[in-house]
């Protein structure tokens, strides 16, 4: 029986091991403790929030939304900046996208961070914690801005919502007024400005990023207050769509003051710029988009092959530089966009001059007409015959074989959208061409290597191609989808100057004279024009809001900004009302041995009409089904 105590002991021992707490977290789940207690953890948390930040970069199109690699329906082909074979009209954002819910997830992440980092403050210095809190506020503000510019007033969530602690009814938060949301964005960005450091890691916000974003957001609010006609008021008197006109001055002043905070902190990129040297100014403008040390870059999103990539080059290079995926020339700038610039022959109404006395002007090379073009135009658009990656980009509509005695008459009546008559013109349906024998015995392909092809449309459909952001030295073997990794510059100093100039001109027109606003706008616009190599303004007398807007279109073209600018100015429905954009078609006259240009309406007859409703995008139906207190925007 002596064994008995041992058995008891063994039995009891078994009990003690069972006392180990079972209530432990699975080791595969990362807890707050893991993330918030070290700087590396916080950096990882921030990295995710920045990657979710709703900015319209290389991976955005209205058709497919944010953070989507496939951008064959480019934003610029909805605004009239460009034509594309895959985007043939104006559009509001695709209503099936999850932008709304994605934004609220990011807002929750930011709120969660703000509410919880305090518990771990002991591990960090005060400055670290404050900087991070500023960053979280910046991210929240930028996300609310993405919502308000789409939908107007949205539900204001400034703390982490808890379910099931809070009831479903309590969580069906109604929309707040548009004005309140903009004010909230302003307050958050002020907080961010006060708490963020002077400098930060590339791709993260510093205090001037917050100020720059504030100038943008407040400018949007000011223009909505001034130009919006749409009103939607809920049962409690919140104006969900629209801002009282009386607030315009307040917002424009806030935009102006925020922009002025960046004075002296950033500057326009002029590293290779030289006064009077058009080629240097052109190269400088091209380089600006690829120089990591550019003093103009305020807020960027970096990419890096192979882990974080986009396909901007593959989709947009001219046809003759096409990569192995078979994509090319999705963005083809319209003649309307090109005509905004200076430095080529123009008619009295500002359109390009291609005829004299009713007969086409003849040029030896297609680039001759653009010999003195504004350097910024050459740096933004590939003009027919201009050089890219060491080759001349050949764009030719066809060969004119008719008689040229006494000059060539226009091929089509003005305003025609018809196809060209084929009796005196040889053209090509696609890239496998049959060379045409010229009178001097040599042969020439009817169309250029980059188009125009009448059949398949995989070419420059406007007579131009895009240069901005196309990497100048990328080998064709790397022109592939998901192989590009140039940095997206979301906010650059030129935009801040344009924000400042626009706010200043608006304040001047609203009778504000506490500062010399018009003179200041004059200075900023001329700084931008000088850098771009454009003709300078000679005085403030002609400095109207249209001048500022035109400058903005030119400077920020193809940077996905005009999509929103046309909306906040409330001009989209005027600009796009059964509108057909214009193209420039170079022809080679066989008998002259020279080129002529035909400026015409888009031969494909793509009509652009902007529906007035789209100034406030449709709130996704499934969000309304989840939260019936959400009131739909007017007209949907």
């Amino acid at each position: 029986m002596k064994k008995f105590p041992y058995i008891i002991l063994t039995f009891l021992l078994c009990w003690t091991t069972a006392c180990k707490k079972l209530d432990t977290l699975p080791p595969s789940i990362i807890s707050d403790q893991d993330v918030f207690s070290s700087a590396a953890g916080v950096t990882a948390y921030m990295a995710r929030m920045y990657s979710e930040l709703p900015i319209e970069d290389f991976r955005y199109s209205p058709e497919r939304g944010l953070n989507m690699f496939w951008i064959i329906s480019p934003t610029s082909a909805t605004t009239g900046e460009a034509l594309s074979r895959d985007q043939n009209g104006s559009m509001q954002e695709n209503t099936g996208l999850s932008t709304w819910s994605d934004c609220y997830r990011t807002i929750r992440d930011a709120n969660y961070f703000s509410e919880n980092i305090g518990k771990y403050a002991g591990n960090f210095t005060n400055d670290q914690v404050n900087n991070w809190l500023g960053e979280a506020r910046f991210i929240r503000a930028a996300t609310y801005f993405a919502l308000v510019k789409r939908y107007g007033g949205v539900p204001l969530v400034d703390k982490v919502l808890k379910y099931p602690e809070q009831s479903i009814e309590e969580l069906k938060i109604p929309r707040n007024s548009e004005e309140k949301i903009y004010d909230f964005i302003g307050t958050d960005l002020d907080y961010a400005y006060a708490n963020l450091p002077e400098t930060n890691q590339v791709g993260r916000a510093n205090k001037y990023v917050a100020a720059g974003f504030k100038s943008r957001a407040m400018l949007y609010a000011g223009t909505v207050a001034k130009y919006n006609q749409i009103s939607l008021v809920d049962g409690s008197g919140n104006r969900l769509c629209g801002i009282p006109v009386a607030k315009a001055v307040t917002y424009f002043k806030a935009a102006y003051d925020a922009a002025a905070l960046l004075d002296g902190k950033y500057s326009l990129y002029k590293k290779a710029w030289a006064a009077g040297d058009k080629n240097a100014q052109y190269l400088n403008y091209v380089n600006m988009f690829f120089d990591a040390s550019s003093p103009e870059n305020i807020f960027v999103r970096q990419y890096h092959y192979p882990e974080s990539v986009h396909g901007y080059d593959a989709y947009n290079v001219p046809r003759q530089l096409m990569g192995a995926n078979g994509y090319s020339s999705e963005v083809n700038p319209t003649l309307d966009f090109v005509e905004l610039f200076d430095g080529f022959p123009k008619n009295a109404d500002g359109t390009i001059k291609t005829t004299t006395g009713g007969k086409y002007d003849l040029y030896t090379n297609t680039m001759d007409i653009f010999a003195n073009a504004e350097p910024r135009l050459r740096a933004t658009v590939v003009l027919p015959g201009d050089v890219m990656k060491g080759v001349s980009i050949e764009i030719r509509r066809g060969i004119y074989t008719g008689s040229s005695v006494g000059g060539i008459n226009p091929l089509l009546p003005a305003g025609s959208t018809a196809h060209y008559p084929t009796d005196n013109i040889v053209q090509s349906a696609n890239a496998s061409q049959t060379p045409y024998k010229l009178p001097n015995g040599t042969t020439m392909n009817p169309a250029g290597l980059s188009g125009y092809f009448t059949g398949d449309g995989t070419n420059s459909v406007s007579g131009f191609s895009i240069r901005k952001y196309i990497v100048p030295d990328k080998p064709t073997s790397e022109v592939l989808e998901n192989r590009s990794d140039q940095t997206w510059i979301e906010l650059r100093y030129a935009e801040v100057l344009l924000n400042r100039a626009e706010a200043a001109v608006e304040l001047n027109s609203l009778g504000q004279s506490d500062k010399s606003y018009l003179q200041d706008a004059f200075t900023q616009i001329n700084a931008i024009r000088e850098r771009g190599g454009a003709d300078l303004l000679t005085g403030t007398a002609n400095l109207t809001i249209d001048v500022v807007r035109k400058e903005r279109k030119k400077e920020l073209g193809f940077e996905n900004k005009q999509y929103w600018d046309m909306r906040r100015w409330r001009v989209a429905d005027k600009e796009q009302n059964s509108t057909i954009y214009r193209t420039l078609m170079p022809f080679y006259s066989a008998n002259d041995g020279k080129y002529f240009f035909d400026a015409r309406l888009d031969e494909r007859n793509s009509r652009y009409t902007f529906d007035v409703r789209w100034y406030y995008e449709q709130i996704p139906q499934d969000e309304i089904q989840k939260s019936q207190n959400l009131i739909q925007n007017p007209g949907y």
Binding site: G237, G415, S578, I580, V612, Q628, P634
Partner: protein, 249 residues
Amino acid sequence: MKKLFYSIALSVLVAAGSSCKKVDNYAAPNVTLKGTVTDAGTGKSLQTEQGSGTRIKLLEISWSSNPTPFYISSFQDGTYQNTKLFAGKNVISAEGAFVPLVQVDDAGKTIVDKSQTVDVKDVTTVNFSVEPFLRIEWVGDPVLNADGTITTSFKVTRGTADPNFQQNVSDVAVFVNSNNYVGNNNYDNRYTPKLSGNDANNSVGKTLSLTTLGGALPGKRSYFIRVGARVSYGLNYYNYTDVKEVKVP
């Protein structure tokens, strides 16, 4: 053992078969709602465009006091019809180029509510009588000129005496298209003459004549013509005349 297997298999089959009984006991929607939106001043139906013109708003209050609205787009001539509705109690109003039937002030208080509460069943007709922002009349028929253009004469007047809805006239246009669906949603801008800004605003009350753009119109076809005008209010709906056809030989 085999017997047991078969009996289990049989009972599974019986269970599966019996679950096929239909439980969807709600009849398919078969109720018709139709009607016309008419101009209170003239008694004629109010012309509009399809898609972004007049639409009828239904709030079904049989189940919920805060329902999601359901909309029926009206035809171009101002009539509407939907033959696949469920029966139910609805608050019905209309939206379009006329003084809103439901108006909310800046404090969110409903100050005007002319919506109708109707038991929609079988075939229900609900008409609305509204005050258009603008009333556009033909002055004679469009004329085919000797030079191959078409000149249209018309007169734009205010359709409402309420000063809150007498905003400036922002656009006047004689829309031209190759089929009878013509309006701001569907027109040919090569031929369509337009007035905007002060020219549009000063046109109120006068007889105007506008001639098609772009010289002689291509022949051997019909053109469909309709005059539209709008004020700067809300979604900038257009008011329209009816459609007239001009044959060009």
